[in-house]
Symmetry: none
Subunit: 122 residues, 2 copies
Amino acid sequence: MVKNTGRPGYLQIADDLRAQINGGSLAPGTPLPSTAQLADQYDASLSVVKMAVGILRNEGLVIGQQGKGVFVRDADDSPAAGDTAGEVAELRAAVQDLSVRLAKVEEQLATSTTRRSGHSSQ
Amino acid sequence: MVKNTGRPGYLQIADDLRAQINGGSLAPGTPLPSTAQLADQYDASLSVVKMAVGILRNEGLVIGQQGKGVFVRDADDSPAAGDTAGEVAELRAAVQDLSVRLAKVEEQLATSTTRRSGHSSQ
DNA sequence: TTCACCAACATAGTTAACCTAGTTGGCTTG
DNA sequence: CAAGCCAACTAGGTTAACTATGTTGGTGAA
């Protein structure tokens, strides 16, 4: 499930879960699948899933309860003040993604043009 | 160095580094000690140091440059801390715009390269 | 029935190892 | 001397394994 873009797997999973939470697919109060299930679902290792969940936990989107599960935080429980931090983190992730993709495009463009016109950009 | 309080080590290290950055002990532009040095300094494993640095990286306090080091971000460069939702919305719009434009470029590049030379770098 | 114990499963933290990739500096070779 | 190669060091990503701790449900004994 984790695609082979420049974006690391744990960020892809975090993005996907974040989208599901914001999109309402994972309602507040409901538990995420267990780490083992997520690992199986995304075809990733447990470590990667734990890293992804750790990010969301750090962002305050979810709350992990040892022995029970990881639950989507209530919207009432996370006021706008805490939400901005998460949005900033999300935007930062998006910018990072764009950066990587743009770098690849630039590289492709550079190689294809140097072969044709000797143009070198650095 | 990591005390045996309830707070996990990787958070303690992240807190300490964050305090050093905010306190000016680690000035913007200066590099953090290498992960190996930090691991030695805090008497922790490389993994926990990498997790701590990953947190600061996610927070935007530092910028990791592969092969060089992890540098404290310029204060001017990261005004995102503690400002309004308006800026968040503005950034979101900008990211959306960039996303669409980049997708178009990627598509054009993909079609043109496959048509001309079948060159693929992945 | 109720209590105690235990097995299974959950998150959480930690460690070690391996791999990739970028940077740097020194050394060798032409 | 200059170019290129290579070793050492860097961050970053991934995996596997282990420990700790909390929850839950079942089982068996009192």
